[in-house]
Symmetry: C2
Subunit: 599 residues, 2 copies
């Protein structure tokens, strides 16, 4: 699988877009010593060119130093490294630390936002935050209460702040921000509270709000124009509201809390929208566009170039927010600029990221049973649509009926935990869930700021399989094939890192950091960190020495039982029962562990 012709650097530096305030970000993402975006680079490849730690010596890895964040509950995201400073963030209350790498991680400054604790109960899936972004000598934090803050990277002083949403209506934030040129692009959470999802651009230097594009609603709110296409065809007027009954779209979800990528060549940024609200499909007839959709929007204007809805009229909570990984790969003998996306619904999609053409859509977990396939015949009226299996249709089974044995569970074959791509192997490395569910929808009425869910769930390991709740897989996105799959006791809720050392790293919910051979998947190293890992592995280099760093701190949706102290199996939207035995392996934490080879 070495059919990849272009590496990250080439991909990102190609194209002749106008020089802007922070071409600097692009440049810095090319420097493997630093880690300035959560996603490693704009392409979301989470690939590092560093190879001092490689498959031959990774077994000798040692813990170099550690840092406690002073906060418990789920620690998602990763630290950033800029020069000899590391920036570490925490879950609510979203403390930010600047650590001095030249001085054993001493604290240069800390930013401690004062946030109303009332935001905690309106966060659906733990008080997580997916981290900071660095651009123009500023560190950007998007707090739980939706305050976007620009901090002076040297001093931690607030340069500006802007309020993006209203927690009293269930609007919160967990996502990182995307700095593009002179803008900061941010999303919103609250699909379980009927929030109408949107992305918003702020002026990077002043915090001025520039534009906001909704996922559902009338065309002006969508920021669609006559050129906006889906699967190659213009979507036409009122493409969203035509697929909703009455005003339901106003509380229709489609939130935007995932990872964003950006292609400087096309000047498009990519992200997905979440579930339509409520989780009871009977209450919202229609396709509920553009929930569960991949969006490609112009990074300057916000206008959508193309969209693709993966799960029309969702009946399972398969939010479409998972990351879009950009790479150039050969498909059917032709080099394609692709976007690869592992959807919650269990299908791994490969699209042409310029046109939005659907190239591949295959199950990346054999357990997936709610749909038989995604129709690839361009002439079919079902083109691009999953073929739902009646038995697993919670709508067809109806309200107050328990649909059982649906795979994947609501948290998908993969959730927020981001995959990595190695241009060296041409493979994607995907942390997955191997979990199924029972789902019983019920009628619910909307009250602002109150849960608007309307379903009772139970989760359990995929039956008739290895008994575990996860797999870590290598995926060939050109064919839609699993190359290898490593069974895991629990869902792999941690983001992967691939490196030029032919090693792939990931973390486990029990707390292991693991390193495996990028070609074969053979386990090369493991270490038990203080708490379960739901953070993403990153790497950097300082004075010629490569380091690998990971945040521990069990939580997130999978770990909500531990994080929030819940024990009723149906609590935590069904995750508490499924992951109850996690209790036997780890306890809450909030730590950074930094690894290196011995001197």
């Amino acid at each position: 699988m070495r059919n990849t012709l272009m590496a990250t650097a080439a991909l990102l530096l190609a194209g002749g877009f106008a020089a802007q305030a922070n071409d600097k970000v692009l440049e810095m993402t090319q420097d493997p010593d630093q880690w300035v975006l959560q996603t490693g680079d704009y392409a979301n490849q989470r690939y590092s060119k560093l190879d001092q730690i490689n498959k031959d010596n990774v077994g000798d890895l040692q813990v170099a130093w550690t840092f406690s964040t002073g906060v418990l509950r789920g620690h998602e995201g990763s630290p950033l490294v800029v020069g000899d400073t590391m920036y570490v963030h925490t879950p609510f209350p979203n403390v930010v630390y600047a650590l001095d790498l030249a001085n054993d991680g001493a604290i240069k400054w800390r930013y401690e936002p004062k946030q109303d604790t009332d935001v905690i109960p309106v966060m659906c899936c733990d008080t997580v935050n997916r981290g900071l972004a660095y651009a123009n000598d500023m560190v950007f934090l998007h707090q739980a209460d939706t305050t976007v803050v620009a901090l002076d990277a040297k001093t931690g002083e607030v340069k500006w702040s802007a309020v993006n949403g209203d927690p009293t209506k269930g609007e919160t934030n967990t996502a990182t921000v995307l700095p593009v040129k002179d803008k900061i692009i941010v999303g919103i959470s609250g699909g379980e509270f009927g929030v109408q999802g949107h992305v918003t651009a702020y002026d990077m230097n002043t915090g001025e709000k520039l534009w906001r594009a909704y996922s559902v609603g009338p065309d002006d709110q969508l920021m669609f124009d006559e050129n906006t296409t889906s699967l190659g065809k213009p979507v036409g007027a009122d493409s969203s509201i035509n697929t909703w009954e009455g005003d339901q779209w106003k509380i229709g979800g489609g939130t935007t809390w995932g990872w964003y990528s950006y292609d400087p060549e096309t000047n498009l940024f990519y992200y997905g929208s979440g579930n339509p609200s409520t989780w009871n499909p009977t209450q919202r007839p229609g396709d509920n566009k553009w929930s569960m959709t991949i969006f490609a929007r112009d990074a300057d204007t916000g206008v959508a170039k193309w969209v693709y809805q993966m799960t029309p009229h969702d009946e399972w909570d398969y939010d479409g927010v998972n990351e879009m990984i950009l790479s150039d790969q050969e498909i059917d003998g032709e080099m394609r600029k692709v976007l690869v996306h592992f959807d919650r619904n269990g299908f791994g999609y490969t699209l042409d990221r310029v046109t939005g053409e659907l190239l591949v859509a295959k199950k990346y977990d054999p357990a997936v049973n709610w749909a038989t396939e995604v129709v690839m015949d361009k002439d079919s009226d079902q083109y691009g649509r999953p073929q739902v299996v009646a038995e697993y249709s919670t709508e067809q089974n109806g309200e107050d009926e328990n649909s059982t044995g649906i795979c994947p569970a609501a948290l998908g074959s993969k959730d927020q935990q981001p995959a990595a791509f190695s241009p060296k192997t041409g493979l994607h490395y995907v942390p997955t869930n191997h979990v199924c569910m029972d789902y019983e929808p019920f009628r619910v009425s909307y009250t602002a700021g109150q849960p608007y869910v309307g379903a009772t769930l139970a989760m359990y390991p995929a039956p008739d399989s290895h008994g575990g709740m996860g797999n870590f897989i290598a995926w060939d996105a050109t064919k839609g094939e699993i190359k290898w799959s490593l069974p895991e006791r629990f869902s792999v809720w941690s983001g992967a890192l691939a490196t030029a050392g032919d090693v792939v790293f990931y973390g486990t919910l029990e707390g292991y950091l693991k390193a495996v051979d990028a070609e074969t998947g053979d386990e090369l190293y493991k270490f038990k960190t203080p708490s379960g890992i739901i953070g993403n592995v990153m790497t950097y280099s300082l004075e010629g020495k490569q380091y690998v760093a990971i945040l521990s701190g069990v939580g997130g949706w999978a770990g909500i039982g531990l994080a929030a102290g819940l024990t009723n199996p149906n609590d935590g939207l069904g995750a508490v029962g499924g992951y109850a035995s996690l209790n036997n392996y780890t306890a809450l934490g909030g730590q950074l562990t930094v690894f290196a080879l011995p001197n």
Copy 2:
């Protein structure tokens, strides 16, 4: 300094006391693979015969595995190891974990007490707990709310529990328990709330209360008899109440929250009592006996054999609770059964532990200035009394006068952080504070459950010294001499461990675990753990491999600013200002880090 003839084993196994239910504890403390008491052994030596990790290879130490306790704030004490099970405790809410050492620390069981959070504000110096004790297949926990719990070591089930005090009156607990034969002996905290201190014995198997001996009060409450001596002379009747005005003794303090030791040969157990209440000396004329006192009591009957008051009529909060380390050493050509005690007041005392004879009393920090000396002339009416310097007498300077430049500060030249003794070198290794203070007493009235302090304090590094707030020293207790002293930026609030590998370990408030040469003090290894260390280093061995373990989690009195989020310099009884810059090095945590040599 190799004049020590008897090692721990010999000391403890000598003597012919009647065989009892748990000679087992004695036996287990002889097995260096295990660690069944917080203090390592009954003698409180904190010395391990393990030598796989030694001064030649300790520089290669690596982190083997880690565990997050799921609790923040100050983590004092250490884990226990019994066979292949490790028992880990936390600060309030005092969770107990049994970890499977044969399975990377997976959790066998956890005990999560439900305690009223009202106990938190009546804990003077953070929500610390100094750990568990193991005896008779039970694990003993003394909770913050003074509930003593016996847990089945295999299952974590509660076998019995007993309530030792009343938090609504300011009675709390932070100490470990001492299992002796068929009893559990426990203390009480609350000297800052006017609690009348006591030790209490419970039946190990049933939890029945057997006896209680107070530190201050009438003779029957003291459990003194006609044979009870002080400095060789019977104390006589009413030895305590004669030294108090009116009923002040009833709210007179002398709490018992330190480390306890036990000598099976004499069947005596040893501990110290804390400050007299209030901190305003003018409100309590007299010597305030037996606050600030070393007690030697019969472990069966509780009756005191001898007592020695180190700081009569305390004017500085120099609690006398620090550990009593038992060893046999040659003094003036004669082998003596000694007790060595590093008092808060800055004097290092060596006494004959059988008779209570005072052998040595010397300053173990040259900064100490509140007293010139302890009078050693047996014929002097001042025999055994420190000679107070008028300038630093907060009583003589009077109420509402600020006495400045007093050394040590209220937290003493050493506080709860326990020292270690190596029978190999004959030296004590002492974590110390190098801190001075201003102290302004004021009149205060007593209300049950309310702070009863009556002084405003400010703390700062000892002036005209190295600028740091601590030293780690090696001490010759036969002569009262510092052999070497290592300057530290902050007080060393962690307990030391000495080993047969000629290495001494300790932790620092910034979070470093350090290993130094037992002879020379040369630094051999250091590692930055996740959070500041106020726990005690321990070691154990499993399947032939030696491990060293330490709890991180900044807090305690020194770290109260971080732990409780206080910023007013006079808060935390004056510690907040003194240790403010700790904020630049570490954040709250609660982690276990386990070290070993590479395979």
